[in-house]
């Protein structure tokens, strides 16, 4: 462990994992908060607690599975392509399909928890795949990635949203990083080993090409989508001094 911490590669990997966690964990907190919104006050805290607990448990299980699965032949190949897709999705602007979510917010505790767990499963897949790829089988790094992502599940994603707002380049850097990590995963594929060992330059060329590919495909697909859209929520007119505290819209 100590030896490992002295290499610069280790710290580069740590940095990669933090960035991946940051970019692929933000949604969780929002879903948990919103899924519990319609619960009675007393159950809301319980719902959030169970939801966060379930999300963490699920992430641990998924991480263990990911490590086991990625050791199998050809699965790194599949993982790498999935990760490329996650990366491209990250840099695509939001399409304004508002209102497609058909699941009503549950008014009872178990319904809310069910929503949270299903959502967590889907969202954790992206995250776990990214972290597993960046950790390259190093268990310490995996556990570290897992621990870092836990406060991000529980926290609000406002910080990430604001950062992205201020520095939109973060999204592109993140997409490129995920592409790069996908490329590294590809190079690490057991069944390609013989071929790659003989051509050593592939170790850096493949990741760089994958990163470039993500940026290219992402910006090409993104061009056909409308840029961000402004949506109106509420309007009100107040005659002089008549508005009462707590008044709605």
């Amino acid at each position: 462990m100590l030896e490992m911490m002295q290499t610069s590669q280790f710290w580069v990997d740590v940095f990669k994992i933090i960035l991946i966690d940051l970019l692929l964990s933000g949604d969780n907190a929002v879903v948990i908060a919103l899924a519990c919104r319609n619960l009675p006050e007393a159950q809301r805290k319980k719902g959030i607690l169970y939801g966060v607990g379930g999300a963490i448990g699920l992430r641990v299980v998924l991480t263990v599975f990911a490590v086991g699965l990625l050791a199998l032949p050809y699965l790194k190949l599949i993982g790498a392509f999935l990760l490329m897709w996650v990366a491209i999705k990250l840099i695509l602007p939001e399409d304004e399909g508002h209102g497609e979510g058909s699941i009503k917010a549950e008014a009872h505790l178990w319904g809310a928890i069910k929503t949270i767990i299903i959502a967590d499963f889907v969202m954790s897949l992206d995250n776990v795949l990214g972290v597993a790829a960046a950790a390259k089988g190093n268990v310490w790094l995996l556990v570290f990635g897992l621990l870092i992502s836990i406060p991000m599940i529980a926290w609000s994603s406002q910080l990430v949203l604001k950062l992205i707002d201020r520095y939109p380049a973060i999204i592109y850097a993140g997409g490129a990083l995920l592409g790069y990590v996908a490329g590294e995963m590809l190079v690490g594929e057991q069944s390609l080993k013989y071929w790659i060992v003989s051509q050593h330059y592939l170790h850096w060329l493949v990741p760089v090409v994958c990163a470039a590919l993500v940026l290219l495909v992402g910006s090409w697909l993104g061009r056909r989508r409308a840029a961000s859209v402004v949506r109106d929520l509420a309007d009100g007119v107040v005659a002089s001094g008549v508005s009462k505290k707590g008044e709605g819209n």
Binding site: N38, K104, S157, D165, S228
Partner: protein, 141 residues
């Protein structure tokens, strides 16, 4: 005359409201005051998949009304009439769009929101509004 005051509940945005009140008092014909709060869109891809649009709207509306509350109290205390508006999206874009829709004559805005990185710096939203708006913009500290 119409004056748009984008607010986020921060101290600087309240200073902007107070300045607009002073301005209104000094004019012979009281200007119409418009409050605007812009919420960031929490409905990114995955959230939209699992939470219905109604719940997201309710949440953002609740947050928006909370952000408007301090500014509304200041205006209520001054006994002035005003309009308020809530929208969701990229803040600078939403401010400029609403200003155009309402044909306001000017924008009065706080120098930066809560938790601005540097106290001396302009907030990023203010910087973008100054850069892209063709209207007169007053920045209040």
């Amino acid at each position: 005359m119409k004056i748009l005051i984008p607010v986020d509940g921060s101290q600087h945005s309240l200073n902007a409201v107070r300045y607009a009140i002073e301005l209104a008092a000094s004019l012979s014909v009281s200007p119409q005051l418009l409050l605007l709060n812009v919420q960031r869109n929490v409905a990114t891809g995955n959230v939209k998949l699992f939470i219905d649009a109604g719940t997201i709207d309710d949440y953002e509306r609740e947050q928006g009304m909370l952000s408007l509350q301090p500014a509304r109290q200041v205006l209520d205390a001054a006994g002035l009439p005003y309009q308020y508006h809530l929208s969701v999206g990229q803040p600078a874009e939403a401010i400029i769009r609403y200003a155009a829709e309402q044909r306001v004559s000017g924008i009065v805005i706080g120098a930066h929101g809560e938790g601005g990185l540097g106290k001396r710096l302009l907030g990023s939203v203010v910087a973008q509004v100054l850069e892209t708006s063709e209207l007169p913009v007053t920045v209040v500290r």
